[in-house]
């Protein structure tokens, strides 16, 4: 198993969970360590319970893992919820002035910090957090200087006095732990790697900037709002027009308008906002104006659990808007992929003049991952397809020299002229139309023309399928168990496979990234030799399992599902596989032991 170390910081919203989390993350990253972080929180601004997990290690950390090595409860509630889950080798740092510990497991170290004796708590209200930071790093074997540097940066704006006060408090905590607590058995290593730490939302926004997006608009909705925040903050430097719109109906239509005028245009929302956008997706398809929409899934239906993750929007994506039309639908596999997938889907949307949908979820959107800066490539391939942006282009002309916007072609793709180009005026309509853009829906209804135009658009489906790679199997081909997942579950399934293999159950993984086109034949070919197949997904009804069955008739040996709002942990999948191999059930729904 890969060596990792996980910290859990719990407390009420507003108690300052994020700041120590950011500081730990920065220190780990600067030591050349990888990290994966996730904040379990609620839809309130002050109060409640939030629990931030940061897992670090010298190799890639693909998920949050199964254990917490260092627990820092900032209030009694956090202590009561999490102490019982610590195992041998772990430690809990807490303010012994205000928090009473429970009974820790054998081998787990309770580390009381007499905060009021160590710092002047009347002056510094978050002294307990800073002391715990220092104490924790001491026990991890990290030199104090690393913390000193980050604190100096963190409080620079507040002046020299605040910087030295915080460094002083941190040093007291550091020295107190050195004198009083047992260090962790595994001191944190250092590597020469340098990585960027970012959320999936930041990655998708940056991916958009890299893909040449010049128009971004949104209505705030968790967990997609981070995309808007990055775009808004960087718009002027990146040359992107960013607008906050009155509702998601306005969002998608404004994005389509901008796209129609010739720019790459993107918007992001969550399931509820996407529902409002669905008529607009049909407009994009019918006018053949490419637009990219990101759906960051949260637990539904309706307002649902706004701050919790789920993979419950798949069928909404498949069925969005009425009528048949070509679309592309991709689910990024991790936060690095959130960046990459945007330019890829823009190329598909532009080439085939259809909507592209990115199906992300809260786990990736708001989680954070260390990524090699080289993987944030701001010079990706940009393929705008058959686009006419100036009068000298003749690609759209028919034999008679007249431009026909919806010219019937073998590929189904008709050269697209943007407004402003002389000699190419036309009307793009949501109504069915002929090659010349003239409406046939009302007075001129003509079944032959309708059929021809429908077939023209739908011919693009074959082109999209050829342009998108089929999925591949990861791991040994002679495995006992094949775990099938899609999108954000990639990392946790990967670790579950490693654990299973270590325990003598050879496992491999089929992770689906492109949902439309699905490449059903390639999937069937991969699965034909599989011994035991299990579909793992974060929803109640097995949305992907049902989709795969509808497209390929494939039925797996069993299903592993979770719909409590929290992501899978590796042991959930490992135990479910064993339970199913023993023949006890075909449907496992692991319980989430952590109450967040």
């Amino acid at each position: 198993m890969k060596q990792t170390f996980a910290i859990g910081i719990g407390g009420a919203a507003g108690q300052g969970v994020a700041t120590p989390g950011d500081i730990f993350a920065k220190i780990f990253s600067r030591r050349g360590l990888h990290l994966n972080a996730y904040n379990a929180y609620q839809s309130i601004i002050r109060g409640g319970h939030t629990f931030l997990t940061i897992r670090t290690g010298p190799e890639k950390v693909t998920n949050l893992g199964d254990r917490v090595d260092l627990l820092i409860p900032l209030n009694q509630d956090a202590m009561d919820r999490h102490l019982r889950l610590l195992t041998a080798g772990a430690a809990c740092l807490y303010n012994s002035d205000t928090i009473k510990p429970g009974v820790a497991a054998e081998g787990a170290q309770l580390c009381p910090l007499p905060v009021s004796k160590l710092a002047d708590i009347t002056r510094n209200k978050v002294a307990q957090n800073t002391i715990a930071l220092g104490a924790g790093l001491s026990m991890m074997g990290v030199g104090f200087q690393a913390l000193e540097e980050v604190l100096a940066e963190q409080f620079k704006r507040k002046g020299e006095a605040v910087v030295s006060e915080n460094i002083g408090i941190a040093r007291v905590g550091y020295e107190y732990a050195t004198a009083n607590f047992r260090p962790f058995a595994w001191p944190l290593p250092m590597t020469g790697n340098r990585s960027a730490v970012l959320s999936g939302n930041t990655a998708m926004a940056m991916g958009g900037a890299a893909a040449g997006v010049k128009f971004y608009c949104a209505y705030p909705m968790s967990p997609s709002t981070g995309v808007l925040h990055w775009m808004a903050a960087h718009a002027r430097r990146a040359g992107i027009m960013v607008r906050q719109v009155e509702d998601e109906i306005g969002v998608v239509n404004m994005a389509i308008g901008a796209a129609h005028a010739g720019v790459r245009s993107m918007c992001a929302t969550s399931g509820g906002g996407f529902a409002l956008m669905s008529e607009g997706l049909g407009l994009s398809a019918m006018m053949e104006t490419p637009v990219v929409v990101i759906d960051c899934q949260r637990a539904g239906p309706s307002t649902g659990v706004p701050t919790k993750t789920e993979q419950g929007d798949l069928w909404q994506m498949l069925g969005a808007a009425f009528g048949d039309y070509p679309r592309a639908l991709a689910a990024p596999l991790d936060i690095g992929d959130c960046f990459k997938v945007i330019s890829e889907i823009f190329n598909i949307a532009d080439r085939f003049q259809c909507p592209g949908i990115v199906l992300c979820d809260l786990l990736l959107s708001e989680g954070r991952l260390s990524v090699d800066p080289k993987d944030l490539d701001f010079d990706p391939v940009i393929d705008r397809g058959e686009l006419i942006t100036n009068a000298s282009s003749v690609s759209g002309a028919n034999d008679d020299g007249k431009y026909k916007r919806y010219k019937i072609t073998e590929s189904g793709v008709s050269p697209r002229a943007i407004p402003g180009v002389p000699g190419h005026t036309h009307t793009a309509a949501s109504d069915e139309h002929d090659e010349d853009g003239v409406l046939i829906s009302d007075e001129f209804t003509n079944p032959t023309k309708r059929r021809v135009m429908m077939e023209k658009r739908m011919r693009k489906v074959a082109g999209i399928e050829a342009a998108v790679p089929p999925p591949v199997l990861w791991g040994p081909h002679d495995a006992d168990v094949t775990l099938i997942g899609w999108g954000s579950t990639k990392g946790v399934i990967e670790e579950a496979c490693e654990i299973l293999t270590e325990q003598g159950i050879l496992a491999n993984q089929l992770q689906i990234r492109w949902l439309v086109p699905l490449h059903g034949d390639a999937i069937l070919d991969i699965l034909k030799d599989a011994r035991h197949t299990f579909i793992v997904e974060n929803n109640y009804s097995g949305q992907f399992a049902r989709y795969l069955r509808s497209e390929t008739s494939f039925v797996p040996n069993g299903y592993i599902r979770k719909y409590d709002g929290e992501p899978f942990m590796p042991h959930h999948i490992v135990e479910a596989v064993k339970e199913q191999l023993s023949g006890k059930t075909k449907l496992s729904v692991p319980a989430h032991e952590i109450l967040v």
Partner: protein, 298 residues
């Protein structure tokens, strides 16, 4: 709206004729609006490839198909949202939005209000016939109280929206009303609306000869009174405009109610557009800028 004057080619009415003839009912008020728009574009000499005519859904929303400019026939109620995107992606284009009262004040009411407060630089022409026509005659947001339609056969019991007062309250920087039977007057209002830098709202009485038997040409003719004939009227006076907007029944003002030119347009207020339209911008971001984006994360 800013205009682009043609340097060389003369723009004639024939250039602006659509690929098909209008399929409106004979006598429909919308014919007069189409003719006035074509005349205004000729008088302003704006080349047709620099014009985008954008509509929603309804009888009057078939408009883009009947004029030879770039056109977008979008979703019911969504024309203004689409038009905002077009204008922000290429602010060199002249953007005209056309539609009906149901499209603009009913299903599209939200976008109507917000487009005005944003001062998007476009001309929005509503062909207001106080009825739903294409769905064969139901009550619209501007139908008068008591009006009998298929959806309210015992008479409308809901108060109508007042488009002029609403536009004034929402911050439109150019607010006018025309009558499709007053061609010269209407053409002049369209020209002014195109030339105005900001959101120009033009409500046009465009009688439905098939389904609205209350608000006919004969009903409007004796009532409409041009604001331009009132020498004491100052269209820079918002309060006066609000007062005039409330007149109905015996005297219905048409003409320019209000205009102010001191509010920046949406595209003018955003420095990102200073370097020119985004539709022609370099898609790549300079390397020093993208490196700084990555550095922030380290």
């Amino acid at each position: 709206m800013a205009t682009t004057l043609a340097a060389t080619n003369h723009v004639a009415v024939a250039d602006l004729k659509g690929k098909v003839d209008p399929d409106w009912c004979p006598g429909c008020g919308d014919f007069g609006v189409l003719a006035a728009v074509q005349k205004a574009l000729v008088e302003l000499q704006i080349p047709n490839h620099n014009v985008v005519t954008i509509s929603g859904i309804g009888c009057s929303s078939n408009f883009p198909g009947f004029i030879n400019t770039y056109g977008m026939h979008t979703l019911h109620g969504r024309a203004l949202a689409v038009a905002t995107g077009v204008k922000l992606a290429n602010h060199d284009l002249t953007v005209l939005v056309t539609g009906g009262d149901g499209d603009g004040f009913g299903i599209g009411g939200n976008h109507f209000v917000h487009s005005m407060r944003r001062n998007v630089d476009l001309l929005y022409i509503v062909m207001d016939n106080q009825i739903y026509g294409l769905t064969t005659g139901q009550t619209s947001p501007t139908s008068r109280v008591g009006m009998k339609t298929k959806s309210m056969p015992f008479g409308n019991i809901e108060a109508p929206v007042n488009p002029i007062s609403l536009a004034l309250a929402a911050g439109a920087t150019f607010v006018a009303r025309g009558f499709s039977a007053e061609q010269k007057h209407l053409t002049e209002l369209i020209k002014q609306g195109i030339q105005h830098k900001g959101f120009s709202f033009l409500d046009v009485f465009s009688p439905c000869v098939t389904y609205n038997h209350d608000n006919t040409y004969q009903w409007f003719r004796p009532r409409v009174k041009k604001l331009e004939d009132d020498t004491g009227y100052d269209s820079a006076d918002w309060m006066a405009a609000m007062g005039k907007s409330l007149l109905w029944d015996t005297e219905i003002p048409i003409g320019k109610f209000f205009e102010r030119t001191d509010v920046p347009t949406l595209h003018g207020a955003e420095p990102v557009l200073d370097a020119g339209p985004l539709a022609h911008a370099d898609m790549r971001i300079p390397g020093d800028v993208t490196r700084s984006f990555v550095e922030e994360l380290m």
